[in-house]
Symmetry: C2
């Protein structure tokens, strides 16, 4: 899942202050430069560090047919230098100044960031602005970097049965939307990507009027404005940013099922996804209800509906979860995963899952659980207000996906105003078999016996983020 992946990335990349102080009244400000660059500033003076993120409104779902992987490939090539920077110089300079940097690509955006001592902000702004419009891809670099992304595919997808299954399941979930194509790309198309493809992508999408700058940390709005005007202000906007008109899903009319068999599967599991309404600018109500539905059904390994019914009541499963991330330009997925107990087959686990869902639709929501989840969500939102780096991610992702600052700020209220009836209505609308993909991930016939006490590992389906 996107949320989980981002959270994990955050945990690795940003060591947030252990001292939790009260959130500031309104630490977030927002402005737009004359050349179209939107900027968000999140002030946090608890530690003398700053994070700069630049989010481009270009992701894998904007790719042309047959060029899958190009968004992520270009992300790699963005480290290859400019007229004034050698290949690798940006990262080397950040590291030499005690900072760290990286980048990631998803369906709806590509983002670059650095974390560094606050007084080095001019340095990283200068370099990030430079590569926004002046990237150079030398004739030597592009093939090497293509080998790198192919190796990344090997490591992260081809050697991981859960990832391979996930690709096949996404392709079955989406009949027409480019969300059915993996962010990393299909191997045979990655192998054919060229320097020209990368440059065409860069010139099409990389411009100040197609980007969002987020600066978070020990800075003020005025400082950021002055620096942004100095470094990003002179960059020419592009006159040819294409509108984001994505191919939409036709009606889904037949429930789909997949059986994936792989000798490397340690523990069989069941995956179910439903095509789901996403958050929309100015209209986040259904997505808020689905967010709470996911928490209710499978958010907590002890108390969620599916855990109680499948794991604790009858012992059909050793693990059950649900997930939903509404931050998406087009229709997203709501996912459910069940790992059956040792003596329970996948079809038996599925029957138990369907019975649990039917019972939930019939009996509705336990008010005590609903209140508990509201409290958790409220606490989570308050906690996140205090987590500057999570806020930076949240604003950057939302603005790069076409949402406004008001949408982001209205999300906690949207969540808190959801009623139990809203959740049940969203659930009835969601759980339509015709919109679903059910996958059995099975051990192949030649699989070695599973190691005793193997830890369950069940990748969640959802938007993919590739670093």
């Amino acid at each position: 899942m996107l949320r989980a992946s981002l959270a994990a990335a955050t945990a690795v990349l940003f060591v947030t202050s252990a001292v939790v102080s009260p959130a500031q009244a309104d630490p977030v400000s927002h402005f737009t430069l004359p050349n179209g660059l939107e900027a968000v500033v999140i002030e946090d003076h608890r530690a003398p560090v700053v994070v700069q993120m630049v989010w481009y409104k270009a992701g894998a779902a904007d790719e042309m047919r047959g060029k899958s992987g190009i968004a992520h490939y270009l992300e790699h090539l963005m480290f290859k230098g400019t007229d004034t920077m050698a290949a690798g110089e940006l990262s080397k300079t950040v590291a030499a100044n005690g900072g760290s940097d990286n980048a990631f690509t998803s369906y709806d955006y590509t983002a670059y960031y650095q974390r560094i001592a606050a007084d080095r902000l001019p340095l990283i702004m200068k370099m990030e602005a430079d590569r926004m419009r002046h990237l150079k891809i030398s004739p030597d670099d592009w093939k090497t970097e293509r080998d790198v992304i192919l190796a990344e595919r090997n490591q992260r997808t081809d050697s991981d049965p859960g990832a391979l299954f996930g690709e096949q399941a996404r392709a079955a979930q989406y009949l027409n939307s480019p969300y059915g194509t993996p962010v990393i790309g299909w191997r045979q198309e990655m192998e054919a990507l060229t320097r020209d493809d990368a440059l065409a992508w860069y010139h099409r999408f990389y411009a100040p009027n197609n980007a969002v700058l987020v600066v978070a940390g020990d800075v003020t709005e005025d400082e950021v404005k002055t620096l942004a005007e100095e470094y990003y202000g002179p960059l020419e906007p592009s006159a040819d940013i294409p509108p984001r008109m994505r191919p939409q899903e036709p009606p889904q009319r037949a429930e789909r099922r997949l059986v994936y068999r792989d000798d490397r599967v340690a523990q069989p599991y069941l995956s179910r996804t439903y095509l789901a309404t996403e958050r929309n600018p100015g209209d986040q109500k259904t997505a808020a209800a689905l967010t709470i539905l996911a928490e209710l059904l499978g958010g907590n390994a002890q108390t969620s509906v599916l855990s109680r019914k499948l794991v604790f009541d009858k012992g059909d499963a050793i693990y059950a979860s649900a997930g939903y991330d509404g931050m998406s330009i087009d229709k997203t997925t709501f996912s459910i995963g069940v790992m059956p107990a040792a003596d329970v087959s996948l079809p038996e686990a599925e029957t138990a899952l369907d019975a649990a869902l039917a019972e939930f639709l019939k009996t509705g929501i336990d008010p005590a659980q609903f209140e508990r989840i509201r409290t958790q969500i409220r606490a989570g939102e308050i906690y996140e207000q205090d987590d500057t780096m999570a806020l930076a991610q949240r604003y950057g992702e939302a603005l790069a996906s076409g949402f406004s600052v008001e949408d982001v700020q209205g999300w906690p209220d949207a969540l808190m105003s959801v009623t139990a009836d809203d959740v049940m209505a969203a659930a009835r609308d969601l759980l339509n078999p015709d919109d679903s993909v059910t996958g059995y991930v099975e051990r192949g016939a030649n699989a070695p016996p599973p190691p005793a006490g193997a830890a369950p590992e069940m990748p969640a389906m959802g938007a993919e983020v590739t670093q």
Copy 2:
């Protein structure tokens, strides 16, 4: 299926001579004009009629993402006139001269044809050449015609459960190839097609160096050459015909299953398709073996392997069939259909089908049946040599799909040189669950009781042709 559809179209459109005379030694000649237009002439002097077909190397699989249906939409707009012809004038003129005309669109080509008295060939060549480069789409016509294709979708797809299921199954069969998109288009994309989209398509693909002219009937090669030079010769070739580089399928790694429920289904049935090797220029051997495999398994309702095992031996099914059409630029499908007997469920029918296939793989081919099929195929090829209009279709389709005249002429030999071992090797390679899509087409919960003695109707999967 493509073959069935084309044959049916031929039967309706061309009333071939009832007098069967021996085929001429080599009635087919082939030349190319300096502007790149390839031409095939098939002489047949038994009746004073001629057919002109123009095949463009542009079909639905060449469409941009999000513009599904544009190839077929342009086909309709091609009847809208030029500088010198009013909208509808071409068809009206053909009819006034006692002829008929039509057009069709598939994944790999779009074709236009007229059948008329042989002395009117100059008239139809003049008009066909005119619209190859001088189409006009008036600001009034394009919206009306878009309503026409939407009505066609209503009639041929949305009101036909088998067609709706077929769309969902194709989308599940192809993870990446544009063959997963319906030729007619997804409704929401058809609704958004514009005159600009149509003109862009026209200018991209409609040129003599992207077309194949086939003239068949009471003409000589010299006559056709002279007329083609006169009418088509002056047309400018295009310098920008894009190469036909289609997105390819990644490895398919999980067997897929669909359940389609519709109250309008009269009789439930089971559909199974496998991704299959297609005919390739200069390499038709595997496709020839698969063609014979389809005949063996399900080509004949009395004697085929599946009919014998499923219908006659055990009575599990009332009908079983198999189909394969290798004439395809990219990977095609091999399809199997089973209509269970009244007291047999779809899962039971599937179990019986899988048992029949497993038994076939184990026991191999009955030599007597193999000989019978070879004899049938030989007879069919001889018969087709005598059917000028079928030959015209065959050459036009093949050349528009990148094949040579030699490939077409070598196909009967390719079929006859297939051995039983070749067929079994092709079958073993084909019947891989990971490459398969199995569909259950079921009556919806609210379906009225089926009419007594309802005639079985089971649409075969395969390439779609839209007139």
